[in-house]
Symmetry: C2
């Protein structure tokens, strides 16, 4: 790594010397094995030696147009590297793995305009097209002869897919679909790369044939001329304008004026329209669920990685930054020595680990269920759906909140974009909304939980992640100050909240409301119940996976990982005293014990804090942070970055001669 | 208002028809009287008819350099309007009032580069300079013949002023101060308008004379040539680079290389250095506290206003936006009809009102104490300091969190900068850090609370806002489901937490720690205690001020304001069940009653929600939001704004010809 070549900040040196565990060993655990770490480092090394990821001027200084054009150039450079370096090592089956996302972060502080080409266009063709269709489109797409994206969301329609207004009406006389945008609210909106880059697009539209609507289906649509790149007649396409983040992806709008595409451009794997207009359902559409679950697992893992970045930046900076007097006359301490700072940051380290372990576990669960589903057993689908929904919601929400906590913990300098923290926040907070909004997803999980509770009441056996409900139906929880005791208490909280919702809904129905009305009026309690369930799952999975993964580790690594797990359990117990007091037998005295334990854990983790974030092994090229670089040259980097801003290329800005001076002269 | 001229969204029309209270009447209460509302509207009208606040291209599309230059131009236009329109009506004594800040919002989505000229440079001269000095500098500054700013924070030093490294060493041989920046970390950093705009600057530096350091003092320093605007020899000045917000203010860095200024440029009201170098302390430096408290009151009021903006945008949009099916087959309901949406938004309306009433109350308290202080009675200073510290911390923190909640409640479109919500968030979240970081300020309040508790224990009479501690010392709280009952319970919670901290500190000291060590290890509990105190103050002040201000109101206004107060009390009771269960006699049954009441309040407020945000009376020119405009033309505005982005001025972006096409051709 480049970091070893320069002089390191003396405080960071000391931190690394006092770290009492083998950092490398923990990195292997986080990556999922030594070979994965080595492979990742090799790829990162190859990619970064090209130097093509580097910007001369900070991206945020440029106009949006310049930023976009710069991002297109880098997308192609990056595309080459993907082909030449990454795929050569990992193979096509690992296309889209975390390694790819990590290295992309070095190229794009925000996002590549071709992200949805690889992330949605190609996977949709692979998942929803026939073999014949794939043979036609995949080579073109993978070879970047066409650039595609995915257009589902409309200006007036997001979460509720059935509400989409764009129509695809089959005309058997010409064997074409006629795509049309009947209203302003029907304009496609948000597609990444749709505004200026893509010349093809997967379009989700209401399929009409023989006068009947068959609901939403997907179509491959060419939108720009291959040679001139001009929008084709009947296509209205453009950029949607500046956003909080993602400003290097030209998110676009798209409207159709009775625009015709060949019948063959309908994605025909799960449904077909025959030449004469007959609609035929084929295959099992439920299998397309797989893509959705896959994306959610990816978002949990992304949350973990981005939170790890933020924690790395904030912890290293807090070791370098010195401030105030803990004792009169004493030198200013490292801010990492303040328990208030430890309280803000250590939970972030621990949560990043919790999310990473949970993402890996979810992935394993998913692939197991997927292979069963392919054999025709879809029994586990509801659980998988409920699980991936709430884990996506809670992970993205936790990650966003903790990343902002890291940023705020860096004081004023956390507000500088050169810290990278504002970017990380605006990126992650978007994932809280897209691919299923926080509240909507938790309510989907809640629906599953209410059913599970009713099954538990009637003695039906439940799937693993909700089996605690059967126990909770029968046995009252007793607080016990152990890991298993705390986890069981959180399960009791979740069960108590679910039971409370069930009671609430039944009461309202007894008072004359129908189920939909009763459900609606209980939604705030249901969201809270689903969050409690998800928290219980996170606590259990984190605890069990940590134990499993460190089974053969050295004592010190075992200990430091266990401290992080204990911190997570204790932190959440103290955050949720209200719930625990309501649904378990926890006493005031137990709470004091937890407070004392929490204080001890902060002190125990403190000497290893820098070592722990070093173990995430996020190199400077990916981190791109003035505050978080491995060498801790915080103030030097802040000044170096400041000097790069184009405002500093002239000692006097033209605004002085143009505005300030004439204004003053006019008054003299 | 311009809003009345266009066709309004039909759903918003219906909302306004069903609103059951007099909106105008509530506006007068929020503004502090009918005459204030009318004056404000007149000023806003005069300012906006000039049209000088309007941008042709969305600011965020431009490069940072262009944004800065554009902001300088608008600063001068705005300066003229201030002089010609605003001051003519409100008079100089109201300089810096909320009206000024409101209208500035129409000119600057972020901030004016001259903000600190008016906001810090001029006030410092007025507060810390002698009459003679004021006579010299004030006319130059007020007439914009010089542009000043304020430079205190350094690259390595923020909160802890005593740690500043910049030195001002008196040289009696030339009767000059020699300013010097001894290290990189001593560079001044952050000053708004310092990078490119200011030619003068208030500099805070360690004063040395006759070989002795007298601590930090302020100096007026010319940094650029009046004619050429070039930095003067010995001055290193520039811009610090892009930030999360505030990007139109050229925040700057400043370094001195043995730079000399005349002795007379020291701000000499509270201390002087005589010609021979003798240091003399004069006057009461405690009175400069006034400025600090004033700024904090302003930040509470700013928090209220910005939260009101966010609530206005999110509530109006939620009345226009329709989504999903509450019942199968039924039309998509307004999202404002979902209790989960009401839960997110109504607390924001209520909190904005709570903060505004509290800011006004704090201002009254402050001016009363200030007049006593001027008579030499500084007894109330500690209470005022503690109060303004925690109210600043909690208001800015609440406002930032709720603004982001409003943004997230707008789904994807809240991520568009044209919604204005990302700007409002990045602006307000900065105020959580500057002028005293959240944690630091709460710990200052905690110090006061611990002292107050000790006084209560020994029977000393306490100042009003902590008098509840005397009661709590003696009487155990009993939960009572009334406004006064809830407020007393929150006071019991605060008292319980403070007592818990005292016990904790004493135990640690009995175990051999000294006070500083024991304090440090208790800081996480102390922050929580100070927050609980502040919440109790907010609940009481909001409740009492709302009652007082609506004493002569119509019944319906009384009712709707009371509903908002009840919502605030109930919401916070449910948020803090853990604290209430620990420190009061609240029962599970009481909690269920609160849940039921909360559900009823959401339903009761729902029909008036749009009316309530209309009552904030924030006109479209200030709001500048596609989602929040009075007429609700949400989708039309989103598209209109999108079309303004320069990326849409060409149908094919040059990046196609420059990168995409050659890349493809090279592979064919």
């Amino acid at each position: 790594m480049s970091a070893s070549k320069v002089q390191t900040n003396v405080d960071l040196d000391k931190e690394r010397i006092k770290c009492n565990f083998n950092i490398q060993e923990l990195t292997y655990i986080i990556d999922g094995g030594k070979h994965k770490t080595l492979q990742r480092r090799q790829i990162e090394n190859n990619v970064f030696t090209s130097g093509k990821h580097e910007d001369q001027v900070p991206d945020e200084c440029l106009s949006l147009k310049e930023r976009y054009e710069n991002a297109v150039r880098k997308s192609l450079d990056y595309g080459d590297l993907v082909r030449n370096e990454l795929l050569a090592i990992t193979g096509l089956e690992n296309f889209g793995t975390p390694i790819l996302r990590r290295t992309a972060d070095a190229f794009f502080k925000e996002i590549s305009p071709l992200l949805l080409h690889l992330g949605m266009f190609v996977p949709t063709i692979m998942g929803q097209c026939t073999a014949e269709q794939q043979a036609k489109w995949l080579p073109l797409a993978l070879n970047l002869e066409i650039y595609g994206t995915y257009a589902q969301t409309e200006l007036g329609h997001g979460t509720f897919i059935r509400g989409l207004e764009t129509t695809a009406t089959y005309d058997s006389s010409t064997e074409e679909f006629v795509l049309h945008t009947p209203t302003l609210t029907a304009y496609k909106w948000w597609g990444g790369g749709l505004g200026k880059t893509a010349n093809h697009c997967i379009v989700v539209a209401q399929l009409y044939t023989k006068g009947k609507c068959y609901g939403v289906h997907t179509f491959i649509v060419q939108i720009r001329d291959a040679e001139t790149h001009e929008p084709l007649p009947g296509i209205k396409v453009g950029e949607i304008g500046p956003k909080m983040g993602f400003n290097t992806a030209d998110n676009g709008y798209l409207g159709f004026d009775h625009y015709r595409i060949p019948r063959e451009n309908m994605c025909m794997k799960n449904a077909q329209v025959l030449k004469d207009g007959t609609y035929m359902k084929l295959g099992n559409a439920k299998l397309t669920y797989g893509t959705m679950v896959f994306v959610r697992v990816t978002l949990v893992s992304d949350s973990a990685f981005n939170l790890a970045k933020a924690a790395t930046i904030a912890v290293r900076y807090s070791a370098v930054r010195r401030q105030s007097e803990a004792k009169p006359g004493a030198p200013e301490p490292q801010v990492l020595d303040y328990p208030t700072q430890q309280h803000k940051l250590f939970i972030c380290i621990s949560s990043a680990l919790a999310m990473q372990f949970t993402a890996n576990w979810l992935w394993k669960t998913f692939t197991k269920y997927l292979s069963e589903m392919k054999k025709g057993n879809v029994d586990n689908l509801p659980e998988l759906h409920a699980l991936s929904s709430c884990l996506k919601a809670v992970s993205t929400s936790d990650a966003a909140a903790y990343i902002e906590q890291c940023r705020l913990a860096c004081g004023g300098h956390g507000y500088m974009t050169s810290s990278r923290l504002p970017h990380i926040y605006s990126f992650v907070v978007a994932t809280r909304t897209y691919e299923g909004d926080y509240t909507v997803l938790l309510l989907q999980t809640a629906r599953f939980l209410i059913k599970a509770w009713e099954q538990a009441e009637s003695g039906v056996n439940l799937t693993p992640t909700v089996s605690y409900l059967s126990r909770a139906c029968k046995v009252k929880n007793t607080w016990e100050n152990s890991s298993e005791g705390i986890i069981r208490s959180f399960e009791a909280v979740a069960a108590g909240k679910i039971a409370h919702c069930v009671k609430n809904i039944r009461e309202k129905m007894q008072n004359g409301l129908d189920l939909d009305e009763a459900w609606l009026l209980t939604t705030n309690l249901l969201v809270s119940a689903a969050e409690a369930h998800c928290r219980a799952v996170l606590l259990r999975v984190y605890h069990e996976e940590a134990k499993r993964l460190t089974e053969e580790s050295s004592l010190n690594v075992k200990e430091v990982v266990d401290q992080l797990v204990q911190l997570y359990l204790t932190y959440w117990s103290l955050e949720r005293t209200g719930d625990l007091l309501r649904y378990t037998s926890i006493s005031e005295n137990n709470i004091h014990q937890l407070e004392k334990k929490y204080e001890e854990l902060l002190a125990a983790i403190r000497p290893n804090a820098v070592g722990l974030v070093d173990a995430f092994d996020i190199c400077d090229e990916i981190l791109q942070s003035t505050l978080g670089a491995y060498d801790g040259r915080v103030y030097e980097r802040l000044m170096e970055e400041a000097l790069k801003t184009p405002l500093n290329s002239e000692s006097v800005n033209p605004a002085f001669h143009k505005y300030l001076k004439p204004y003053r002269q006019a008054k003299l």
